[in-house]
């Protein structure tokens, strides 16, 4: 191993992520000797300035944590307050919220898959350059993204920082006819989504596996969006209210896999080892 030349990879501005960061990798031969991920996204202090605000303002304020996935934040605020106040929502509101969330997933995941990540897999700087050789793929992506945005717009008023979701329900709900009008687009989008899965599965992934602990919501009857238990692949199974007992948040200089995708308030969350607590 001695005599091998050290090589460094330095990316001062990470591209196609939400948030700002830089990456430094030092290689000795084939071996990674050092990795530094630096997040220089400025802190904004949502937890601090939410104090003293009326509960009805929290969903509007928390949306601003991230412009790409505002619904995730505003619905989290809505659920926390409804739980604190013991509010039960109607089955209709529950279904509309699922649809609302699906809209964000469609637009946000399409953006992610086709416009932020696919250029890396196919060797382009961005989706616009990719469109020169893969016009049909990019046009399909834009149409799929637009359908997601159309759902968010119908239920929330606008795509970014929607205004209709509220504690207890919505300020205003669409008419049945407006919802029916979505059907034709959604039938096309279902097929396009299946094509997306097949297309993405055919991309070449590096053969790299790490011993992660994956955490997700789990619901007994359906794909979990707004409710469920917090579970992990290593046996964690808790109520959402117990979250603080099992997770630690740390601002860290330690290079840890971190989700830059939603790094507006950048934290590195790790599951607290139950053995050590």
């Amino acid at each position: 191993m001695t005599g091998r030349v050290a090589k460094t990879i330095r990316v001062d501005t990470l591209a196609r992520v939400e948030g700002e960061g830089s990456l430094y990798i030092k290689l000795v031969g084939e071996r990674v000797a050092d990795v530094k991920l630096k997040i220089y996204e400025p802190p904004r202090f949502f937890e601090a300035f939410l104090r003293g605000r009326h509960f009805s303002e929290a969903p509007d304020i928390t949306a601003r944590i991230c412009g790409i996935c505002p619904i995730a934040y505003q619905m989290s605020a809505v659920h926390a307050i409804e739980r604190a106040l013991g509010i039960q929502i109607s089955p209709e509101v529950r279904l509309l919220r699922r649809l609302f969330y699906c809209g964000e997933w469609i637009e946000s995941h399409t953006l992610h898959v086709y416009m932020l990540h696919a250029p890396d897999f196919l060797g382009y700087p961005d989706a616009i350059a990719m469109a020169k050789d893969h016009r049909a793929v990019v046009e399909k992506a834009l149409r799929l993204k637009k359908i997601g945005n159309r759902i968010v717009q119908l239920l929330g008023g606008r795509e970014i920082h929607p205004i209709s979701a509220a504690v207890g329900g919505f300020y205003k709900v669409p008419s049945k006819q407006q919802l029916r009008d979505l059907v034709a687009d959604l039938e096309w989008a279902l097929e396009a989504s299946l094509e997306t899965v097949r297309w993405t599965a055919a991309l070449e992934f590096p053969n790299f596996e790490q011993d992660y602990e994956f955490v997700a919501l789990r619901h007994p009857d359906e794909y979990p969006f707004n409710e469920g238990r917090v579970v992990s692949n290593r046996g964690l199974d808790i109520d959402t209210a117990e979250y603080e007992d099992h997770f630690v948040s740390c601002t860290s200089s330690i290079p840890t896999p971190c989700n830059l995708w939603c790094g507006a308030e950048v934290r590195i969350w790790s599951v607290r080892s139950r053995a050590s607590t």
Binding site: A15, P42, P43, F49, G67, P125, R143, R158, H161
Partner: protein
């Protein structure tokens, strides 16, 4: 290549913000490929790893200034951009993070971050125009993508952009909305807030919360009096003015007057 050279070059720069305003460009699904054909998007890290060097014909700046590094960086961005346009409430008014401006930021750091020593920030969150000259401020939290496209088109054509500075009330009247403040007694900031959203909140049965910031000549004291008539306490009126455009001077003055009474 030679024809590419003559395309106007656009740079998109981010400071403290949520990314939503620059996302508006990618959310222009029907126009994106057309825009990309008419201009060269030279620097837009959220969308591209190309990141070409300046100078740029148009710089779109999102976010407020909250760190020493950013206060220096905006000077460099200004030097690189022939026309500098700020987009969104963070860049034009300091954003929601300007709520720190009335509080102790060191306390904010301590209660939010587990290891405060890694956090470096300024006491104030300030708009771009407090640091460098700005050629046009596009309002909104978030901005309206159609206004953004109009602004880019107008700038490239060398004409004045059609971005009205009148109030949300005008948009409400155009949509034939029944006034929710008059008819239903719901507090609404529409009379003092700049148009651009399409009177969105009143159209969804709720009062405007002012995310497009102050209109050209807002009568905030009359607005405050109206909120009081509708039963709002001064603390509630102060909070209404103190959200996404809290540091815009007209809203700032209005909220501070409510706190004093």
């Amino acid at each position: 290549m030679s024809s590419e050279k003559h395309k106007p070059r656009i740079g998109v720069f981010k400071f403290a913000s949520c990314d939503g305003c620059q996302l508006s460009l990618l959310d222009a699904e029907d126009e994106l490929l057309g825009v990309a054909g008419a201009v060269e998007i030279s620097y837009f890290p959220e969308a591209s790893s190309a990141m070409l060097k300046g100078p740029y014909d148009i710089g779109l700046v999102e976010g407020s200034i909250t760190t020493h590094h950013d206060a220096q960086h905006i000077q460099e961005v200004r030097r690189q951009c022939k026309t500098l346009i700020t987009i969104g409430a963070c860049a034009t008014a300091g954003g929601i993070q300007a709520l720190r401006n009335w509080k102790d930021v060191d306390e904010f750091i301590r209660i939010v971050y587990a290891t405060p020593q890694f956090i470096s920030t300024l006491k104030l969150s300030t708009p771009i125009a407090e640091h460098v000259p700005v050629d046009f401020e596009l309002r909104g939290c978030p901005i309206n993508k159609h206004q953004l496209l109009e602004l880019i088109t107008a700038t490239l054509a060398g004409r004045k952009p059609n971005v009205p500075s009148y109030s949300v009330c005008i948009e409400c009247k155009r949509k034939a909305n029944v006034c929710i403040a008059v008819a239903r007694g719901i507090p609404c900031l529409g009379p003092v807030t700049q148009a651009g959203c399409g009177a969105l909140c009143p159209s969804y049965d709720r009062g405007c919360y002012g995310c497009y910031g102050p209109m050209e000549t807002p009568n905030t004291s009359s607005m405050t009096a109206q909120f009081r008539i509708l039963g709002q306490a001064d603390s509630q009126v102060a909070r209404a003015f103190r959200s996404f455009n809290a540091w815009a001077w007209q809203f700032r003055k209005a909220s501070e007057e409510c706190e004093r009474t």
